[in-house]
């Protein structure tokens, strides 16, 4: 199916914000809240993407992923840890025997300003290291130049290089400017073969927002209407508390429904979200807020 990029659906900004107002006025209590919190926890891609990352830091993060809060039995683990390509092997080794996936950013993350060869090699490094998932960035410069075919072809090439690894395509919505462009970039990524579309690198502000996620979810929905094929969604960056995470899940629930409410099709890219979700789960269970120091920081 060939996509006419100039005919991608238009988005009305005011209407998107109105829709989000309806979502954020929803109220989750008791069992419904607990269900949502556990769901959120299971969807986290625990992330460290710093220039200062070291092998030891990555091992610590993997330990955190495996032992979120052992004081409370029966909790799900996070979905994945997300690291730079050179740490994939370390993460893979540390997480061996668990169901936690290893995701790697690639393609000259975060700016994406490099040649196709370098991006393909970067991807190969991640995949050869054993990455289950690859988080690539699109070429925003080319996108702004209107070189949509370039952007499309690049995604398709990386998808091929991924082999069995699932491909998440980062649009970096904070650099796109309008919802119309977010929608266009979503369509390009989806039609080029993305398994997931993802809002942000976390290096640019604004990162993920509810409105931008809503626009991307509608793109996923339209593709599903046309093809019956599911595409996943990953908001990343800036989602640091449980209340906000639950609002994202409600947005998914009311836009795409049950089929997307699993960590196979929805992820949060976050570093500090897990502890707030854990704190809320303990609060829901015991009725008491615990000190932040009862939750490990890695």
């Amino acid at each position: 199916m060939i996509l006419d990029y100039n005919a991608t659906p238009v988005i009305d900004q005011v209407g998107v914000l109105d829709r989000i107002d309806r979502i954020t006025s929803r109220s989750l209590k008791k069992d419904a809240k607990m269900h949502g919190l556990k769901l959120a926890l299971s969807m986290i891609d625990l992330t460290t993407l710093e220039g200062a990352d070291t092998t030891k830091k990555v091992v610590q993060l993997c330990n955190k992923a495996m032992h979120l809060h052992d004081a409370m039995p029966g909790l799900p683990t996070v979905a994945a840890v997300c690291v730079y390509p050179n740490f994939v092997e370390t993460a893979k080794k540390t997480l061996k025997g668990t169901k936690i996936k290893v995701a790697s950013v690639a393609t000259a993350f975060p700016a994406g300003q490099s040649s196709r060869e370098v991006k393909l090699l970067d991807t190969k490094l991640a995949v050869d290291g054993g990455a289950d998932e690859v988080d690539m960035v699109i070429s925003r410069g080319k996108f702004h130049e209107g070189e949509y075919n370039f952007v499309f072809d690049e995604i398709a090439a990386i998808k091929e290089a991924c082999g069995k690894a699932r491909l998440k395509v980062i649009l970096e919505t904070g650099e796109l400017g309008t919802f119309d462009k977010v929608r266009r970039a979503s369509d390009i990524a989806i039609y080029a073969g993305a398994d997931f579309i993802k809002t942000s690198t976390g290096k640019i502000s604004p990162a993920a927002t509810l409105p931008v996620t809503s626009v991307m979810l509608e793109a996923i929905k339209d593709y599903y209407y046309k093809t019956g094929i599911q595409v996943g969604m990953k908001p990343a960056g800036g989602i640091s508390n449980a209340k906000l995470a639950l609002q994202y899940l409600l947005l998914v629930k009311e836009t795409l429904g049950d089929a997307w409410l699993t960590n196979e099709w929805f992820r949060f890219g976050a570093s500090s979200l897990a502890n707030d979700v854990l704190m809320q789960i303990v609060k829901q269970t015991t009725g008491i807020y615990q000190s932040k120091d009862y939750f490990s920081k890695d």
Binding site: V10, D12, G15, V16, D18, R26, A259
Partner: protein, 487 residues
């Protein structure tokens, strides 16, 4: 067809707004001359919670004598106090009412929901804040009337008789009282018999605000009480919001008298979706247009026109969005569609559902479950209808949408205007030139572009044709309560 499953296994747990904090009396008298007065008939009627069918309070029924008493009190207040008071002082009282509504917003929202069946989300986020906003807005005008009508010597009319409907009980009271007071008139107001409580609670606020006795009188009763207000010879102005049928009776009744009138009546608004519109947001607008307040909205977008090229996808998106609407207990914070206002109104809606089916239209309802007690109607839409169907021609005043298709701009303008009503319309297109072309050709008082059911005190509201005349809101709303030179 791959179907999206929105009947999630992740169900909302009940999240009920508390009713502990509200203060309701068992019995309400008439508010005349600043005091609570027993009705001369000695009769009372019940006001009922439509979500539970339980009685909330006994309400006094005013007859001709009581109406006369109220009009006399209003006249006395007008002659002796209100017309002589400096305008800036008048403004202070109105500001005070606005602030007191804000202070007691939570109580008002809960009572509005109990008495009328509307979702607490709407009462809390729309009805009550907008009511306060109207008082704030008109308070500001009180001492600036000479700027609103320069060199035209604006003067109040005298005593205004005001009759409001049951769909937005407090908000409609605010629409009526705020401009009347700001312009120096006094008021005799009758709320609807099914939803009198927030108007009566407002009487408490009016007392608390120290408004001079008789400036606002609130009397309760059914149609006969309203008729007595309309026919009273010492009333200078009638302001009515309600059905076109009653509007016509009022027009007849005041013919040949010196009474001024503004009538805000029924509607059957066209909501028009072009193929170049932002479709996902348009679908949200369709939902807001017809399912807001259970469709008990005179400006509801009850006739949907979808351009044929996008008909299939719009209907699919619309049905999926409808599936995520929560129907049920109005006090639940997650409820999107509450109870139908009264048994009588439910009967009317059900009558139209039967008519629609009998006319051969295809009816679609979501498969939500409804509470056993109370008055409920599932969100409904009819397809396969045309301008010739009664469900397209007549105002249903419920959560019932009639969907038609069109091919060209000229066709949809002709169809949209092909109704005795002309209160509102909605146009959805990404093309500005098309939008402005439409707004200049649609015969409706309010036309929303890429949105629907948006209200603001500064924006005038009112109808064309049988949707009434006169404007409420904004600077135009002042004029309806003033004598101004040269008009």
């Amino acid at each position: 067809m791959t179907k999206i499953n929105l009947n999630s296994t992740w169900e909302f747990a009940p999240s009920l707004e508390s009713t502990d904090h509200i203060n309701l009396k068992k019995q309400y008298e008439l508010f005349i001359g600043g005091k609570w007065v027993k009705p001369s008939s000695g009769k009372y009627f019940d006001t009922v919670n439509p979500a539970t069918e339980e009685k909330l309070a006994s309400i006094a029924e005013a007859n001709d004598k009581d109406v006369d008493k109220a009009v006399k009190a209003a006249r006395k207040a007008y002659n002796e106090v209100w017309s002589k008071m400096p305008a800036s002082e008048r403004g202070k009282y109105i500001y005070r009412i606005a602030r007191l509504i804000q202070e007691r917003a939570r109580e008002f929202a809960v009572i509005e929901t109990l008495d009328g069946g509307k979702p607490i989300r709407e009462a809390r986020d729309i009805d009550v804040p907008l009511a306060a906003a109207h008082f704030f807005y008109y308070a500001g005008w009180a001492d600036k009337l000479d700027y609103a009508f320069p060199n035209r010597n604006p003067m109040p009319l005298g005593v205004a008789g005001q009759i409001v409907p049951w769909n937005f009980p407090l908000l409609m009271v605010a629409w009526k009282i705020a401009p009347a007071l700001a312009t120096g008139n006094t008021v005799v107001l009758k709320p609807a018999e099914t939803t009198p409580l927030t108007a009566l609670k407002l009487a408490e606020i009016i007392q608390e605000a120290g408004l001079p006795d008789g400036v606002v009188n609130i009397i309760t009763g059914a149609g006969a009480t309203g008729a007595a207000i309309v026919n009273h010879e010492d009333v200078d102005k009638i302001a009515f919001t309600g059905s076109t049928g009653v509007g016509k009776i009022i027009q007849n009744a005041i013919a040949g008298t010196n009474k001024k009138a503004t009538l805000e009546l029924g509607g059957k608004a066209a909501n028009i979706i072009f193929e170049d519109a932002a479709l996902d947001q348009a679908v949200e607008g369709i939902i807001n247009g017809i399912y807001f307040n259970q469709g008990h909205v005179c400006c509801a977008g009850s006739r949907l026109f979808v351009q044929e090229s996008v008909y299939d996808v719009v209907m699919r998106k619309l049905k999926d969005r409808m599936a995520s609407l929560v129907v049920g207990n109005p006090l639940d914070k997650n409820t999107d569609i509450g109870a139908i206002n009264s048994k009588e109104q439910l009967n009317t809606i059900n009558k139209y559902l039967k008519i629609g089916k009998a006319e051969g239209a295809e009816m679609y309802q979501t498969d939500c479950s409804l509470p056993k007690k109370g008055y409920w109607c599932k969100p409904t839409l009819f397809t396969g209808v045309s301008q010739s169907n009664r469900i397209v021609q007549e105002e249903i005043f419920g959560p019932v949408l009639a969907v038609q298709t069109f091919r060209t701009v000229a066709e949809v303008i002709e169809k949209a205007n092909n109704t005795p009503y002309g209160l509102s319309a909605g146009v959805w297109t990404d093309k500005g030139s098309k939008l402005f072309n439409m707004t200049s050709q649609l015969k409706a008082g309010v036309i929303w572009g890429n949105t629907f059911n948006k209200f603001d005190p500064s924006s005038p509201f009112g109808g064309f044709k049988e949707s009434g005349f006169g404007r409420e809101g904004g600077l135009h709303g002042l004029k309806a309560y003033l004598k101004v030179k040269g008009s």
